[in-house]
Amino acid sequence: MTSWKKEEFDNLETTEVLEKSKELGLTQEQLVDMYRTMVKIRLFEEMADKQYALGKVHGTMHLSAGQEAVAVGSGFAINKGDYLLNHHRGHGHFISSGADVNKMMAEFLGKDTGYCHGRGGSMHIADVTANNLGANGIVGGGLQLAVGVGLAVQMKKTDQIVLTIFGDGAANEGIFHESLNMAAIWDLPILYLCENNKYGMSADVTRVSAKTPFKDRAAAYGIPGYYIDGNDVLAVYEFIRNAAENARSGKGPVFVEAQTYRYFGHSKSDRNLYRTKEEIDHWKTIEDPIIRFEKLLRTANLIDDQSINSIKEEMSKEIDESVTFAENSPEPDVKDVTEWVYA
């Protein structure tokens, strides 16, 4: 795996896009499907925000609009059956892993038909049966669980890997050290994906971190580390796929730091006092992962105005239907409030 160079994929010519995709093992259908999934995530997040504005959401939410390339690039690069441990801004990764948006929206609205029967909400969506071990409300929460899942995979001798995704904030938690150290000494099949969106709530990464990029910290544990453009979906795909194969082949953990940016505030209380409108606008236009990928796919003649519109309409319809499904779903029965505390 070589180092990533910015705009590696952005300025490719038509044939080069297709050649590169072929090299990555992606079919044309998969490329369009990746685009479709990115659009779906964006629309889901925008709809979630709208639902909140309409007063239909009881709790908080952490929206991932702007970070779709990390979710889709990584989600498409791992195998079905691999384990996923997610952070609190996890809607995108969940959708990318094939989740049912009806059940997601229902959970978001606290309904009994949601993934967690309304017990978890946005921050705890999980689908354990699909090896999705959940979003996590504790920053760095997945880093500790990943060690144990990695141990289980190693002991059961399956060829799964553990993808644990965390933010820049988690890299400054103590568990970051404990987890990477253990994964390294035992060669655990863990793929550490640090989704750096520049801010831990309001804290600028460079202000609260002694040294960046975080991938340099991986070197301290003898773990290969890469810093990549997290808004370039193909770059994310390439690095995660290669890292996954490395972990799968028993060579131990890999660390990938993907630079990206979130558009919405940290959560519903955020008034964006810590960043400028210019900065947000820059990321929303020049760096936007969907615009960039759209341009690439147009260059490769894989999509055009008509197909883009049809994809957006199709996804929009699916998201609208998820709201209808959620709204028409029953609330959980309050008499069951103490169910599932114990198995």
Partner: protein, 328 residues
């Protein structure tokens, strides 16, 4: 029946279950060649190898976190924390992850894990290596808390704990490790949540657990010669608490003393009293309910101070005498 120590009983339970179930493994600090800080895992590395006797760096947060992660995907880890005090470094995975995963995920996760916690005072290990934190652990829905008092109970309860589909905190009192007791060679289990009358009596009920059971039994034996009949009820499992056993015993004796080593304020004695005061047993009380708990201090180093910080046999005896003679 052969006599073995409390330490051996715990060791044997782990070894026997690891032979039976390949998903069970032990994870913790210095559990391999060293055999664990208290020798509980002696010889296990040789039998099971480094993968199933997984010796870790000094990383309590990751030890318990890893146990939770492994449990969520079908393993049955036993995490040994060298001292119960160190669970404070691991409360995040214990309270926020292991205890809540099943509930948060709508009943779809199971987290079958055991955290073994050598606790208690009496070894001169001072404030950060002598605590009894079981009351605090009982305050976590989703966790079960066990504190066995004998070798027999330790083995039977640990087997049940390993097989239980929930996170279980298994509190081992360090002073009990050397105490011997009869333990059958054949496989047996003791159900969680079931108390045990260790000494039947008529005049007063002493509800207790762990090492305080041994102390209370010594007192009960002494007082029986004077005609004071003490019922020692060993809760064995602190959460879920065997409320019916408490109610039944208090209805019989009409008096209650709760004894635990954990500090008094917020301690589980209050929970036992609440069970009585909100049940029909309240009407049977002939005297106020009393508690004897660890003093609200960090455990001191000096041997006399240390002994004064937690209930001793003389304290238990004095309390019982006061209650049965209505001089409290």
């Amino acid at each position: 029946m052969p006599e073995i120590t409390y330490r051996e009983a715990i060791h044997d339970a782990m070894v026997e279950e690891m032979r039976r179930d390949e998903n069970v493994f032990l994870i913790g600090e210095d559990i391999g060649t060293y055999g664990g800080a208290f020798g509980v895992s002696a010889g296990m590395l040789a039998e099971f190898g480094p993968e199933r006797v997984r010796e870790t760096p000094i990383s309590e947060l990751a030890i318990v976190g890893a146990a939770a992660g492994a449990a969520m995907v079908g393993m049955k880890p036993i995490a040994e924390l060298m001292f119960m005090d160190f669970v404070l470094l691991a409360l995040e995975p214990l309270m926020n992850q292991a205890a809540k995963a099943r509930y948060m995920f709508g009943g779809k996760a199971t987290v079958p894990m055991v955290v073994r916690l050598p606790g208690g005072s009496g070894t001169g290990a001072a404030a950060q290596h002598s605590q009894s934190l079981e009351s605090m652990l009982m305050n976590i829905p989703g966790i079960k808390v066990i504190a066995p008092s004998t070798a027999y109970d330790a083995k039977g309860l640990l087997l049940s704990a390993i097989r239980d589909p929930n996170p279980v905190c298994f509190v081992e009192h360090k002073l009990l490790y050397k105490v011997k007791g009869e333990v059958p060679e054949d496989e047996y289990t003791i159900p969680l949540g079931v108390a045990d009358i260790k000494h039947p009596g008529e005049d007063i009920t002493v509800v207790t657990s762990g090492i305080m059971v041994q102390k209370s039994l010594a007192v009960a034996s002494k007082l029986s010669q004077e005609g004071i009949s003490v019922e020692v009820l060993d809760l064995r499992t602190l959460r879920p608490m065997d409320e019916q056993a408490i109610i039944k015993s208090v209805k019989k004796t009409g008096r209650l003393l709760v004894v635990h080593e954990a500090v008094q304020t917020g301690g589980w004695a209050g929970e036992v009293m609440a069970v009585v005061s909100s049940s029909e047993a309240f009407d049977y009380l002939d005297a106020p309910m009393r508690r004897l708990a660890g003093k609200d201090v960090p455990i001191p180093y000096n041997r006399f101070l240390e002994a004064a910080a937690v209930p001793q046999e003389a304290d238990i005896e004095a309390e019982i005498r006061a209650i049965v003679s209505n001089k409290y």
